[in-house]
């Protein structure tokens, strides 16, 4: 019993070391980073963070990322909820193949899709907009959201639907009043994973934006590989990229454990 917790704590320490190291680096001035290895900042400074918060480029990058990620979560969930409901309630002709086809889209190599995406969105006049990135990220988020939500919905007995219809509920009212609250945990989990995968995606976000919707993941790559990389600044930006997700995790933490285990797969 005790040994188990010691191993678990050791694992969490290993898990945190890289994150600690980034926070540590972000609180040091550049010359301390380059000159010597220090385990706590000796020359403590918030300069790196101050620079990010006062720079319009960094501020707009963070804002762009948040906008397209939220847009993606909304589109993914709106498209996935009815789809997952159909898969969980009815076995129609081709439903198994369709479910597998949806999943295969998650495997698509983003690296190659970026050129067709660029051409397509140029034609649709949405290149370099938040909508472009949000739609492109649906490629891997809709399959995942359908998958997760289908699991949650299958865990809810069909009798609930039938009883509601016998009681005279119309479909939209049934969905809003009865079904929606029941699958709320599933929505939380699906939203968390869509948020995560959209937030950390780099290839498509980079290919589909120039200036108007340039996300923070792209701003971060600027200057890496060149001499005199501003490690402190990059580390500080890296720390800040973890903040929105950590907030989301905090809100869905109670649902995280409940999901997945139900349903088809």
């Amino acid at each position: 019993m005790k040994k188990r917790y010691i191993l678990l704590i050791m694992y969490f320490i290993l898990l945190i070391i890289p994150i600690y190291w980034m926070i540590n680096t972000s609180l040091k001035p550049d010359n301390e980073i380059i000159k010597k290895l220090t385990f706590i900042p000796q020359d403590f400074t918030l300069q790196n963070y101050k620079e990010i918060f006062t720079s319009p480029l960094w501020r707009s990058s963070f804002l762009n990322s948040l906008i397209y990620v939220c847009l993606n979560v909304v589109i993914s969930l709106l498209a996935a909820i009815p789809g997952a409901y159909a898969f969980s309630r009815w076995k129609f002709r081709g439903s198994h193949h369709l479910f597998f086809w949806l999943l295969t889209n998650r495997m698509a190599p983003a690296a190659v899709f970026m050129i067709p995406f660029t051409e397509l969105y140029y034609t649709l006049h949405i290149y370099d907009t938040h909508l472009a990135v949000a739609l492109a990220h649906c490629l891997f988020n809709i399959p995942l959201a359908v998958w997760i939500l289908e699991g949650f919905m299958s865990g809810i007995p069909r009798e609930i639907d039938e009883t509601a219809f016998i009681d005279g509920y119309s479909f939209p009212r049934f969905f809003g009043k009865i079904f929606f609250p029941l699958i709320a945990p599933g929505l939380g989990v699906a939203a968390f994973f869509c948020f995560t995968f959209s937030w950390i995606e780099l290839i498509l976000a980079k290919a589909l934006t120039v200036t108007n919707a340039k996300p923070v993941v792209v701003t971060l790559t600027v200057g890496i590989g060149a001499e005199g990389v501003r490690w402190g600044l990059l580390a500080a930006a890296g720390v800040l990229t973890m903040v929105p997700g950590a907030v989301v995790v905090y809100f869905v933490r109670n649902y995280m454990a409940k999901g997945f285990a139900l349903g088809r797969v």
Binding site: L7, M22, I75, V112, T241
Partner: protein, 286 residues
Amino acid sequence: MKNRGWIFLIPALAVMSISAFIPLMTVINYSLHYIFAGSAPTYVGLENYVEVLRDPAFLSALGRQLLFSLMVLVVQVPLGIGIALAMPKQGPAVALCLVLLGIPLLIPFNVVGIIARVFCQANIGVLPAFFGLLGYDFNVALDPIDASLTIFFLDVWHWTPLVALLCYAGLRSIPHAFYQAAEIDGASPWKTFRYVTLPKLRSVLILGVLLRFMDSFKIYAEPLLLTGGGPGSATTFMSLHVARKAQSYELGYAGASSVIYLFIVIVFSYIFFQIMTNVGKGGAQE
């Protein structure tokens, strides 16, 4: 009634047609043409596929990728199950564990790459200093094995929490009565795990294995930022190889190689899916 399912799927299919179907068709179209900047594409049939399959660079990237992906599964899945089993079942520590597990998942790929660079940088990094104390010259820029292992452990660090979260969710859904029954029957801890826990984890493990397998094929930013796919081509995995070709506008080659890539991932995923569904069922009958 039968068609009702399709009506509900319209929103998902509409979005997927823009963000999946049309691009996929375009890629397949590329793969059948010889495309050279400034001139009209010419139809060449399957020539691009032949060229890709004969290219030693593609084949070595593929071999490296398969080894990497299998290693990812072999290490991350048992480790994830172990972590989930070790986690407390109730109390305030649960929320803490879940949030800690969630944090690595939220770090963008290129930030992971930056962390790796900071860790491995020759003069300022922790890892060279640590291995220096042990008398080993750790250098990701020169030693292919150091670079490959760094990428691998980085991935283990980044994604094992996902498997652990999924398994923990699965464990929570096992009724306590199952364990009590096993205890009354005098089952050893291993037998309890094998015949009670593992079959019940099947559905989440299928999800975990497939997600990790598919996503491990997409590893791109970490090797790019750490060493640019080097030293040599030691960390040039499939996505990196294909993306390079696409970026240099060898669209025929890139299209053909990504169709092959997609085919391989789908075949393997399908095999895993079949094996895991059936093995689990066999276990339940024993």
